[in-house]
Symmetry: C3
Subunit: 286 residues, 3 copies
């Protein structure tokens, strides 16, 4: 446990929704095994069985948590099949989930990843079901990790954990091709074009996300004159914030996670534009 975080903290990210007992039951199991634990829900609204959305969501938020946080990430269409259960440590964090890539965007940012298969029955519930490893394998592992059990106790090291392919992001000369990766609660359309950072001089540049460039160096600079195209929508610049355009007008900006977003000031871009996850988006420089 990190001295700055005296309360062991487990952050939860699943596709379980909140209408069933699944999330509450996992918390019950964890509170039993690590009585002092605190839970922070990231979201339970990952599209059912959408591993890539889970991986992207974890990637965009895990770095804001206190060192020592354990991430319980369960998007698990293969439960009961051959996919392995996984725990990993990377940087200041621990991660628990199925070995289907849901952890891999976060892990790809680190060169100190230590991953093990969760095979030790001492750290599972006594009866393991074939349909709810979140409760029977992953929650107990997260709780024991939060309580201080060393990672090596859980099972053998594995090097070949599954790396999920990154979302579309191709830079060809002055054209960047990405895709729609998420639509948020406000109807903001989040694209895979990122991460975009602002330099001290105010200019924008792009670094490769998802561990594509582990050194996270600038890949390309973005001038003020650009052409962004999403379906029939064309936008000519990247704005700083919503109020720079009129209420009801569309704009492109760099979202809070560093990815290019298409928004409407005071409205929902997703309601106005007929967009689906995976739709192509291009950004042309000049």
């Amino acid at each position: 446990m990190n001295s700055a975080s005296p309360i062991p903290t487990i952050a939860l990210l699943t596709d379980f929704g909140t209408t069933d007992v699944y999330v509450g039951t996992m918390k019950a199991v964890m509170a039993r095994l690590c009585p002092a634990v605190r839970f922070i829900d990231i979201t339970h609204a990952i599209q059912p069985q959408n591993i890539q959305q889970g991986a992207f969501t974890l990637y965009t938020c895990y770095r804001y948590f206190a060192p020592g946080t354990v991430f319980l990430t369960v998007v698990d269409p293969g439960v009961g099949g051959v996919r392995r259960p996984l725990a990993a440590q990377a940087g200041d964090y621990s991660f628990v989930g199925p070995d289907n890539g849901v952890l891999s965007y976060a892990l790809a940012e680190h060169d100190d990843v230590l991953a093990v298969e969760l095979s030790n029955p001492d750290y599972r519930l006594e009866a393991v079901s074939t349909t709810f490893h979140g409760r029977d394998i992953f929650a107990p592992a997260a709780a024991h990790l939060a309580a201080g059990v060393p990672l090596a106790e859980f099972g053998p090291v594995i090097e070949d954990y599954y790396r999920l392919p990154a979302p579309q992001l191709v830079i060809q000369g002055s054209i960047i091709e990405g895709e729609v990766i998420h639509v948020d609660h406000f109807g903001n359309i989040v694209t895979s074009i990122g991460e975009i950072r602002r330099s001290v001089s105010g200019g924008l540049y792009l670094i490769a996300p998802f561990g594509r460039g582990q050194q996270r160096q600038p890949v390309i600079t973005l001038p003020s004159a650009v052409t962004i195209q999403l379906g029939t929508l064309k936008l000519a610049r990247i704005h700083r914030t919503y109020s720079e355009v009129a209420p009801g007008a569309a704009l492109a900006l760099v979202g809070s996670s560093g990815f290019l977003e298409i928004s409407i000031n005071g409205g929902s871009a997703a309601q106005v534009f007929n967009i689906a996850i995976g739709d192509p988006v291009t950004l042309q420089i000049g």
Copy 2:
């Protein structure tokens, strides 16, 4: 307070939804009366005023919680009327809620139930409304119980608390008749046929749930050759897990709570089959 659970824990199960202030206000009241409390939300998405769904939901999850947990269970269509407010202790747990049967499936599993009417005004808010006993009566009682106030302080013992009839489960020779009791977030169709357990030799047997057989002895064994019928759907065996059938195919399996479920591997059975809560389902042996 149990020594294994130094943090007093209150688990919440309601039909309040999460769009209003109702759940947050109950937590505010409880944190004020039991400052060290931890909350675990089971769900607040019980169908409004559906007492049986609330009772079933509590039944399927309460046993995973740490000893000492207090369950605040409010599905209360009769608020402000003649139904009594109730608190009970059974096994290692305490339960608080209206005396309309919402606690009764969980209580039926125990032969040491001690139930009282919540009549002592010292453990209510000063002003008790006629529409929100969750805030004014049940939450204060749960908090005081979590803080260690003995059950007998809250009011007189009652023996005749309301027992809700169990969901449909009739065994006639080789035919078991049940009903659809829940549809989960993934579209899995949960039936009242259960609880089903797996013996060490791998065979399945059924025990009577909801306290029908308080000894919880095997009632009937389930061979591998069965015929399950739900509407026009017929299935010929009980599978172990989703991946035993092709993606998109329907299957029956024993869900994580021990009840027979109808699912689709990688899909939503509820979207494919036109099913309502209460629809009959039969399982024929041989």
Copy 3:
């Protein structure tokens, strides 16, 4: 920190929904800065960018929280623009949010309000985005306040914080004119006619909410014979509780927050009556 509340508590109220990482990320930031913190979610389902609904919701529940609670209230359509970020202390509570009126109904109840602009960069995240001040400015301020940093440290005192106009409530002789202000999860229609209190003799009287009458004195008494009109619906009295009318029948009653509500016993008034937020409702005495 108040001695009755040894755990620093932050209550959250936003329009962020729970499908994105926004709420979890704010909690991550706060747990990092105030490791002992406890969170209580009020709701994250405020209609996107509906400042008045946020202000009303905060007003109806904040008084139930323990002294010392910090309220993090983010409904922030003007993020990144000119509106100021605000923190205030009033009565036993602290409040953090944008200076757009979302805090103002709660603040109006107090004559000891001390408000400051959140301008001190020491209490913000290092990099402040232009789209998510919840994470970068408001959450850090709430956490530092919960950890005991004095309000004066955050920035200069401001007297002219924005006061949102109160919802419609006009008393003209024997007629009270209000509007629909909220529809809850059960379909109860909440109006701006309130707050209504019951005297020890059982009679009803109305006090002016939202700080209109800071002394909170009775403004008008409500006899048993009234005529309530909402669209084509007419009701002749204010009932005490749902079960006083037949199942399926409509009634008016005083809701748990003290405002006049239109309900259906055992049903959803919002489903039966075609009502929108802002629709006029009148109560005629006699």
